[in-house]
């Protein structure tokens, strides 16, 4: 008795040391915590971009005039398009079918005449591959913009027409360049943290079951809470390492701005990491093989983090009942916090409710995980 009173935490320190030695010796833990964030961020960060850039766009010039050539160059002069010239609409259609171009504009043979004519309107047909609705909308918008800008300049030159009565000036706040990378990367960090937390703990506990070491540990004076907390603390440290890697890549590779406070970032991330780790522990109370553990971790943490967190799809535009469903997945609060911290700054009215929700999840899931862990094989 006296020894345990004098040296509280000796057992715990022993367990903790064991976890760290295992982490260092086991390349798979390091790979999941430190290498996977790099791969995920680079692949998804570069691969998924919701912007239209250098879109191959056909211009069918049936008119072959100075004006039609001018519009072609207007397309060529934006960063969004790489125009391809066609003589007939039929050829352009064929190219669209083949997937060579994402859309095309048709300039009829009377194009230049109507452009010059102050009364008539020149009709331009824009045909866009609508399979990917999102890209289609963006391409249509950009193409209309190019035509409108060109038309304005052209009329001004030609007719020395008066300036329009009113003009609209756009400003995109928080993400002035409207780079999708700027909001995808913070979301990806949330996904990576979900993976590190839930997958890693669920896997390492399941591995202890598979190898029979959990059974051996249970018949020692170590309590189940000590065993679980040892895992939590060790993988918390590893998770913070993953966070550092992800944030560094976000800031320096993707050049995402960071406008909030780093202290708040670490604070919010720590709370989320505890939520994820607790989730992993909870999974491990059910799954005693690594295979089942991985399946469950993907299904109940990774997929919601990807789909229902606002990372890929805007929560506001989801049907009401799905919006309601998103509230039970902690990832959404973390994604929102990260996007705010990166792009807007330390905006407490947004951060506080998110932080409160994450804290509630951390306490709840951890309590359930501890309550469910019993010193028993049943």
């Amino acid at each position: 008795m006296s020894a345990s009173d004098l040296l509280p935490g000796r057992r715990f320190r022993g367990l903790l040391r064991k976890e760290f030695v295992q982490i260092v010796r086991d390349p798979s833990s390091i790979a999941i915590a430190l290498v996977m964030p790099v791969v995920l961020l680079l692949l998804i960060g570069f691969g998924i971009s919701l912007d239209a850039r250098k879109v191959r766009f056909g211009v069918v010039d049936e008119n072959r005039s100075v004006e039609s050539a001018g519009l072609y160059h207007a397309f060529a002069n934006t960063p969004y398009f790489r125009p391809v010239s066609f003589l007939t609409a039929r050829e352009a259609e064929a190219a669209l079918m083949r997937g060579d171009i994402s859309g095309f504009a048709v300039l009829r043979s009377d194009f230049s005449r109507h452009v010059i004519d102050p009364v008539r309107t020149a009709d331009i047909a824009i045909i866009v591959n609508g399979v990917d609705a999102n890209t289609a909308r963006i391409v249509t918008g950009y193409a209309q913009g190019v035509v409108a800008v060109w038309l304005l300049g052209h009329r001004r030159d030609r007719a020395k027409a008066a300036a329009p009565a009113a003009s609209v000036e756009h400003r995109y706040w928080f993400n002035p360049e409207i780079r999708s990378t700027n909001f995808i990367v913070p979301g990806l960090i949330a996904m990576v943290m979900t993976m590190i937390g839930a997958l890693l703990t669920a896997l390492v506990v399941a591995r202890e079951w598979e190898r029979g070491t959990m059974e051996a540990m249970m018949v020692t004076p170590a309590s189940m809470t000590e065993l679980m907390m040892g895992k939590l603390v060790a993988y918390f440290v590893l998770g913070l390492g993953g966070l550092a890697v992800s944030v560094t890549i976000g800031l320096f590779v993707f050049e995402v701005p960071f406008r909030g406070s780093f202290a708040v970032l670490v604070g919010v991330s720590s709370v989320f990491l505890i939520v994820s780790l607790a989730m992993g522990l909870l999974i491990s109370t059910v799954a005693r093989s690594q295979f089942v553990a991985a399946q469950l971790a993907f299904l109940i943490t990774f997929m919601p983090a990807l789909i229902l967190s606002g990372l890929m799809f805007d929560i506001e535009s989801m049907p009401g009942w799905i919006q309601a469903a998103t509230t039970v997945f902690p990832a959404r609060y973390f994604v929102s916090s990260l996007q705010t911290l990166f792009l807007a700054g330390t905006v407490w009215p947004v951060l506080l409710p998110n932080l409160a929700a994450l804290l509630a999840f951390a306490v709840l899931i951890l309590a359930v995980a501890v309550a469910r862990t019993r010193r028993s094989l049943e």
Partner: protein, 578 residues
């Protein structure tokens, strides 16, 4: 001091898992200062009982008292040393780190820790390997490390779950010595095992069969009842199986099994030895063993197991050597798993590859089945060079493993249909062979039951029937009867004996000394090499001394390994000296 107060008391202990009863009304006590053998075949309830004592499972009925406590309260773990199956070691931690972890968990202070480490590392011979990862230790060393971890905090109760399974006999003895010393210091040690020869050496035993306590007490008391009823009869090799079958069928005989070149016979109480056939040698009285007692107990409780008939038409004999291995080697990267192994097996011979786990038995086996290409050397099976015509060779061999590769959710008939199809039997021949299998193996009553639901004995018969459907000339048996009860083992081997009499060749791998006794000849496999071969009696005779006139196969094995290691050591040290 109540030194003899039991460490564990079990009263009517019952444990169920769903519909199956794993332990049924077990009442027993375990005394300090003794090694208590928890003996029984696989599935008898040994592990469940140990887990109940360790507090890892809750009983469904009855009472359990551990170290004077009612039940297994938390805190009592401090005084329990537990080694689960597969030893419960962290394989990515070194020997030292594993010990340190356990020392921390038991909150040992620096002085105690140093003293215990030194003592246990010396005791187990692990001192030179303190820095090595547990995963890189041999099976025997892992087991000693597991034991050292369990012993670290000087437990009053030591629970060992099959500590000796698959480990070489030399390590087994080492382990036994350590546990014996602990028992001498007053520890209550529980040693679970499926090896019946180990039960003989325990101070007391609990014999479990299908969840019930069949017998308990001291092994000497149990075998004393058989005093004067056990005999050995020498038999010429070609008549051994026939003689065994004849004696087993005799009503005065409780048990007749092959033991080396003899048939071992146990008679009913008060019965006289049956009339000898012409040319039979005179029976020699022998000391009854634990296994004899177990079998006679089982025979009392149940009807005699159906013994195999002649199994007509099950196979065609091969001509020439059935199996020829020449300088067979196999490398896995830089590791040589099998090193220049050569042997011949004659048609109708039962040849055993005996060795501990990891010695290379399975690798040799896989090369001979055509599942793995040798790195060097040649193999011919049933007259076919495996390098040239693996597929043809496979048609001539049958394969059965202990894990019975049956489809659990298919019926017996479906399984036989499937294996018939796989072996390329069609139409009439397939129908005939399946009918033969159902008849010869007494499977008629269970034809439409799912294979997974069958009792172990039926599964074993079905697996053998499936392996024999295509009338193979050579039969490969991978630990066919490890962990099954002795009656099932006898039934199985009498079938194999009948097949051998018809000229079918059998190659068996095993780490069970009991299984090895059934073989005509053995190859002892150790560290990738065949260090000796010969009949079981040959091997034993080499180690007969005045002190040990009747050495067991295990004695022979230990002696062979020691001689091999000594020779190796001498060979290794010579160039350094020069």
């Amino acid at each position: 001091m109540a030194a003899s107060a039991p460490a564990v008391v079990l009263q009517g202990l019952t444990k169920r898992f769903g519909p199956t009863t794993a332990l049924d009304d077990v009442t027993a006590s375990i005394l300090p200062g003794q090694i208590t053998g928890l003996v029984g075949p696989d599935g008898a309830g040994k592990t469940t009982l140990l887990r109940l004592i360790a507090g890892l499972l809750m009983p469904d009925g009855g009472k359990i008292a551990v170290l004077g406590h009612d039940g297994v309260p938390s805190g009592v773990q401090r005084d329990i040393g537990y080694m689960p199956q597969r030893f419960g070691l962290y394989e990515d931690l070194s020997v030292d780190e594993n010990l340190s972890l356990h020392a921390d968990l038991h909150e040992l202070d620096e002085a105690t820790r140093r003293e215990r480490f030194a003592a246990l590392l010396g005791f187990t011979g692990l001192a030179p390997f303190a820095g090595r990862l547990a995963g890189k230790l041999s099976g025997g060393m892992k087991q000693k490390l597991g034991l050292a971890c369990a012993l670290l905090a000087r437990p009053k109760l030591l629970l060992l779950d099959e500590p000796s399974a698959g480990v070489d006999p030399a390590s087994r003895r080492e382990l036994w010595r350590i546990v014996r010393t602990m028992a001498g210091e007053g520890v209550a040690a529980v040693w679970s095992t499926a090896y019946l020869d180990e039960a003989d050496r325990c101070d007391s035993f609990l014999l479990l069969q299908a969840g019930r306590l069949l017998a308990s007490g001291s092994p000497a008391d149990l075998t004393r009842r058989l005093e004067g009823r056990a005999f050995l009869v020498d038999a010429p090799p070609d008549r051994r199986h026939a003689m065994q079958r004849r004696l087993a069928a005799d009503p005065v005989v409780v048990d007749a099994t092959i033991q080396g070149a003899s048939v071992r016979v146990v008679l009913h109480d008060g019965a006289a030895f049956p009339v000898r056939a012409d040319g039979d040698a005179a029976p020699r009285p022998t000391r009854p063993r634990f296994e004899d007692a177990f079998v006679s107990l089982l025979q009392e409780k149940s009807q005699a197991a159906p013994m195999a008939g002649a199994l007509n038409g099950s196979a065609r004999p091969a001509d020439g050597a059935a199996i020829e291995a020449r300088d067979l080697s196999r490398d896995f990267g830089a590791f040589r798993a099998v090193d220049r192994v050569s042997f011949d097996v004659a048609p109708g011979e039962i040849f055993g590859l005996l060795g501990p786990n990891g010695a290379g038995k399975s690798t040799i086996f896989r090369m001979l089945c055509g599942l793995l290409a040798p790195s060097h050397g040649q193999a011919r099976v049933a007259g076919i060079d495996l390098r040239r015509a693996r597929a043809t060779a496979r048609e001539r061999i049958g394969y059965m493993s202990q894990r019975f590769s049956l489809y659990g959710n298919l019926s017996v008939a479906d399984n036989l249909e499937f294996f018939g199809g796989v072996y390329g039997l069609d139409g009439r021949r397939r129908r005939d062979r399946i009918a033969w299998a159902l008849d010869a193996f007494d499977l008629g009553s269970v034809t439409h039951l799912e294979a997974g639901m069958l009792p172990l004995g039926f599964k074993q018969r079905l697996a053998l029937a499936a392996a024999l459907l295509h009338e193979p000339r050579v039969l490969f048996l991978d630990e066919p009867t490890s962990g099954v009860d002795p009656l099932m083992r006898r039934e199985f081997w009498s079938r194999i004996g009948a097949l051998a009499d018809q000229g079918v060749t059998a190659l068996v791998t095993s780490h069970f000394m009991d299984e090895a006794e059934y073989c005509d000849r053995l190859g002892i496999i150790y560290a990738g090499q065949m260090i000796a071969s010969g009949s079981p009696d040959d091997l034993k005779r080499r180690f007969a001394t005045e002190a040990l006139p009747e050495p067991t196969l295990e004695d022979a094995f230990v002696g062979l390994i020691a001689a091999h290691d000594a020779a190796n050591h001498a060979a290794n040290s010579r160039p350094q000296a020069a």
